[in-house]
């Protein structure tokens, strides 16, 4: 697993995170521009076979040396299973891991326990959370 070209990131040491009693709205990571066509996103509700077929179809028309398949959090296991399956089908697969940040929005907060560490008096709290990401590079 090549980890050498991973760039040093600013400190991601977790802040003191108290439990917030409120309604949690999870937001997806911000996406800039359009997702390139040779990147396939596997979500928690993507069926395994659909993902596999999507990769195989894209491999036929891919003009770049490799195809990227990625998944976050819950779908990591599925992406890795997909990687193993592709290896069985004699594809060269490389696995990379990284971390993404997403935003959690808390509304209708009930207790004030952790309000001290957030220096605003609004009834809503925005908090960043780190999510693991796994990326497969499937070589054509």
């Amino acid at each position: 697993m090549p980890a050498s070209n991973r760039q040093a990131r600013p400190s991601t040491a977790p802040r003191a995170r108290g439990r917030i009693n409120g309604k949690l709205i999870k937001h997806p990571p911000p996406q800039l521009g359009q997702r390139p066509k040779d990147t396939i996103q596997i979500g928690s509700s993507t069926p395994f076979i659909s993902g596999l077929k999507r990769v195989q179809k894209q491999l036929k028309v891919c003009t770049r040396p490799f195809l990227t398949v990625q998944g976050l959090g819950k779908s990591i296991e599925k992406v890795l299973a997909l990687g193993v399956k592709l290896m069985e089908l004699d594809h060269v697969v490389e696995v990379r891991t990284s971390t993404l940040r997403v935003v959690d929005e808390f509304t209708e907060i009930i207790n004030d326990e952790c309000r001290n560490d957030v220096d605003n008096d609004d009834t809503e709290i925005m908090r960043a959370r780190e999510v693991s990401k796994v990326e497969l590079r499937v070589y054509v």
Binding site: H27, P30, G33, Q34, L100, V103
Partner: protein, 810 residues
């Protein structure tokens, strides 16, 4: 014809011959020694042949298109293109002109437009127009944009030009009406001409534009907008609005103008069971940081179908709490945009002028602008906080920066940096805005001062010279106030003065991958997200009930138009009762459902007396007989918790009798005679649900939803374990038959194949009695309504019930 007929034929034959003959290369160099195939040479030699083949395909395809206007892509085709060369793109005009000359098509281009009048006749026309405009007490010669707001009364619709007066007598045109008239089907609804769908087929393109790439835009100026205002205190405005929203809008985040409230408006005079009117949006004008606000005001926006209920309500509440209301239905217009490209498209048309020096809030305003400019490349609106609002007073006329281009920030942000921006959204109070000029009549009127005509803009462009950008003239050119709201369904709503909608609309529609949408597309996309669409999916409101009645009348009429042999024989559909569809096959028959539930309850009470009520009608008798075998239903409506349950309004149920008596057809046999709806029909508690088929099939609107009968529960539950690929089929003898009408639990209001989920999906309403959570043994306690369960869905005109999973929404 200018040439003899035979010549034409020969020429055509030659043309087709040429188009369909493919040149080939017969000699084969790669087989030079006649034994070994030289692969590189072989491939090279085929290259020529493949090229010829591809060319031939293109030539052959184009040869069948005879005329210039047929070569134009579908989106660029225009109705009059066959006889009017000005409707053909410029590059094809010379060819079109020649073709029209060859086959003697009378050139219509000269007569297509009425000639502009000159001299005396022009003076007469202008005098007429002025007299016409004077009807509205508008100053003579002020034919340009004006604000049509009314204070504490209802506004009169804009008069429109004299030329189009006849067409706007009974309805109002949207600001983009003429643009839409060329590209969309338009229907008169709620006093407006509303585009229902583009003329081009667009089911899949709309799905793609909203989910994959591009965006869909709507002119939603038909939404009713009111401004509630008080110059002394915010509490009076707050009281008016909290009465309409069950105090939900009194939270500080709404009062400060940081966020926009979106939800269901309620009638405070009615009982909680029937108070929902329809969806609405409320946005308080942000107070200036300097606290020098002169006016406290809020925008209320709601669907035009609830206008007749809302207006008396607003009038009464404003009187009660000492606020005044401004009817801005014809002075604040709006554009909705949804899809991955929506933020980029908006940042292409919203160009901001630098705030004037000496402004107290300059720093603050700049911070807000920086925040907006950071989002330029963002393609998922969902990553931003919910219901955020951007308000700007300094937007430049979008026509000056035509064609719209994407702003290029000096240092584009990474996704990680953007997360920091979003996390700090509330921190530096950038989120709340500053007093917006859109809220006031003066502010809107000021934006119309020196509003340039298209002609003036074009003249400026000509004078600037080719390739030169037009520059905003700070002394002369007006600045436009706008409010941009992120909606709960992750689309954006742009609010702008009525007469600025069209300039924004023109620019927006010149951005690539932007698709036009109508009401149908709005319905389609909200269905794909399995959200309820107002008014079609809200049978518990007056508007929803009316909408369903109108649609059912239409369906009935269409059904009668078809010959007898070709229409679905609803009276012959085999159901568990025997033959005949349950209730009215053309609508979601809530009256029948209420009656079934009522009879179920009364059958329990008067177990022995039921025989008395058996009528001579055999089907009715069947129906009643089946009640004798009723399993014990313990859940009377009183036992159902009131929260999160919606009721069809009692008076609506009474109304149905009037509707029903109008149609006296006997061809489709209605199982239950609706005339017999007793006045004491209990209210029908309903919950909205999302339904997903577990096996094959697609649910359609008005499909009947049944709960799984306990006696056959095991048989149905074995189907749960079957994979979707193992097609459970009605031909299979082991497939259980659809339950009887005793188990009728609700109706599908919208059902279709959902492109987003790749499955048959529906939204509908279930009787709350049938959704009670199992396992609660204590009967004295109010029962909980479960969040999900399984049900059986049967399309009308079919006897097969499909197993499906339901899930509560709303």
């Amino acid at each position: 014809m200018s040439t003899p007929r035979t010549d034409g034929r020969q020429r055509k034959r030659a043309k087709l011959n040429d188009a369909r003959s493919i040149l080939v290369q017969n000699s084969e160099r790669s087989l030079a020694d006649n034994r070994h195939l030289m692969v590189p040479e072989f491939v090279q030699s085929r290259q020529y042949e493949i090229q010829q083949l591809e060319n031939a395909m293109i030539k052959s395809r184009n040869s069948s298109k005879k005329r210039a206007f047929q070569l134009v892509p579908r989106v660029l085709r225009r109705r009059a293109a066959s006889h009017n060369i000005k409707r053909v793109p410029k590059r094809l005009r010379s060819r079109a002109r020649k073709e029209m000359k060859d086959d003697n098509t009378p050139p219509k281009d000269k007569f297509a437009r009425a000639r502009a009048k000159r001299g005396h006749s022009r003076a007469i026309e202008m005098a007429k127009e002025q007299a016409h405009q004077r009807l509205r007490n508008r100053p003579i010669l002020q034919l340009s944009s004006a604000d049509a707001t009314a204070v504490n009364s209802l506004a009169r619709p804009p008069l429109g030009k004299l030329r189009f007066r006849g067409r706007q007598k009974k309805k109002t045109w949207l600001p983009t009406h003429v643009w839409h008239a060329k590209r969309a089907h338009i229907e008169t609804k709620w006093g407006f001409s509303v585009p229902t769908a583009p003329t081009l087929k667009c089911y899949r393109p709309t799905h793609k534009a909203d989910n994959v790439e591009g965006a869909v835009v709507w002119d939603t100026s038909y939404y009713s907008t009111f401004v509630i205002q008080n110059s002394e205190s915010i509490s009076s405005v707050e009281n008016v609005l909290s009465s309409l929203t069950e105090s939900e809008t009194s939270k500080p985040k709404f009062l400060s103008g940081t966020k926009c409230w979106e939800g269901l408006l309620t009638d405070p005079d009615l009982k909680p069971s029937s108070k929902i009117l329809g969806p609405g949006l409320i946005y308080y004008s942000p107070l200036q940081l300097a606290k020098t606000a002169k006016q406290y005001s809020a925008i209320v926006r709601f669907h035009p179908s609830i206008l007749t209920t809302m207006v008396p309500l607003i009038q009464r509440l404003c009187k009660q709490f000492g606020a005044s209301y401004y009817d801005c239905r014809y002075s604040i217009g709006s554009i909705d945009i949804s899809g991955p490209k929506s933020i980029t498209a908006l940042s292409m048309i919203i160009k901001l002028a630098k705030p004037a020096d000496g402004d107290a809030d300059t720093e603050f305003k700049l911070a807000k602008e920086r925040l907006w400019s950071n989002l330029t490349r963002l393609s998922n609106t969902a990553s931003l906080p919910t219901s955020v609002v951007f308000g700007f007073n300094n937007v430049i006329d979008p026509r000056l920066s035509y064609p719209p281009r994407r702003p290029s920030p000096k240092k584009p942000m990474t996704s990680d940096e953007l997360v920091d921006v979003i996390v700090d959204w509330n921190k530096d109070k950038v989120a709340s805005g500053f007093e917006n000029n859109l809220f006031t009549m003066d502010g809107r009127t000021a934006s119309y001062k020196n509003q340039a005509t298209i002609k003036a803009i074009n003249r400026r462009r000509t004078n600037a010279g080719p390739g030169k950008k037009l520059v905003h003239n700070t002394n002369k050119d007006p600045l436009i106030p706008i409010v941009l709201i992120k909606r709960l369904n992750n689309s954006w709503t742009l609010l702008t003065p009525w007469n600025w909608v069209l300039p924004f609309w023109f620019s927006l529609n010149h951005i690539p991958h932007i698709k036009l949408g109508g009401l149908k597309q709005k319905h389609q996309l909200s269905f794909e997200k399995t959200r309820l669409f107002f008014p079609d999916d809200y049978p518990t409101t007056d508007s929803g009930w009316k909408c369903e009645h109108e649609k059912s009348t239409q369906r009935r009429e269409q059904w009668f138009k078809r010959p007898k042999g070709k229409r679905v024989a609803y009276h012959k559909v085999i159901t568990a009762e025997g033959v005949g569809e349950i209730g009215d096959p053309f609508k979601c028959d809530w009256t029948t459902l209420a009656l079934i539930k009522h009879r179920k309850a009364s059958a329990l009470k008067n177990h022995k007396n039921t025989q008395d009520s058996i009528s001579s009608n055999s089907q009715d008798a069947n129906f009643i007989n089946s009640h004798l075998n009723l399993q014990t239903a313990k859940n009377s409506p009183e036992n159902i918790p009131s929260r999160s349950v919606y009721y069809i309004r009692k008076n609506i149920l009474d109304l149905t009798n009037d509707y029903e008596t109008e149609s006296t057809d006997s061809d489709h046999n209605v199982c239950i005679d609706t005339d017999k709806v007793e006045s004491e029909v209990p209210q029908l508690p309903l919950i909205p649900v999302k339904i997903k088929y577990l096996h094959r099939g697609v649910p359609k609107s008005q499909a009947r939803i049944y709960c799984v009968p306990k006696t056959k529960a095991n048989k149905w539950k074995t189907l749960l374990t079957q994979s979707p690929n193992n097609h459970a089929d009605e031909t299979n003898h082991e497939y259980p038959s659809c339950p009887s009408s005793d188990y009728l639990a609700g109706f599908v209001t919208t059902g279709e194949f959902n492109l987003k989920e790749g499955n048959g999906v529906a939204v509908g309403w279930l009787s709350a009695e049938d959704c009670l959570a199992e396992g609660d043994t204590d009967e004295s306690l109010p029962k909980r309504i479960s969040k999900e369960g399984i049900c059986i869905v049967r399309n009308i005109g079919s006897s097969v019930g499909r197993l499906a999973k339901w899930e509560r929404i709303l």
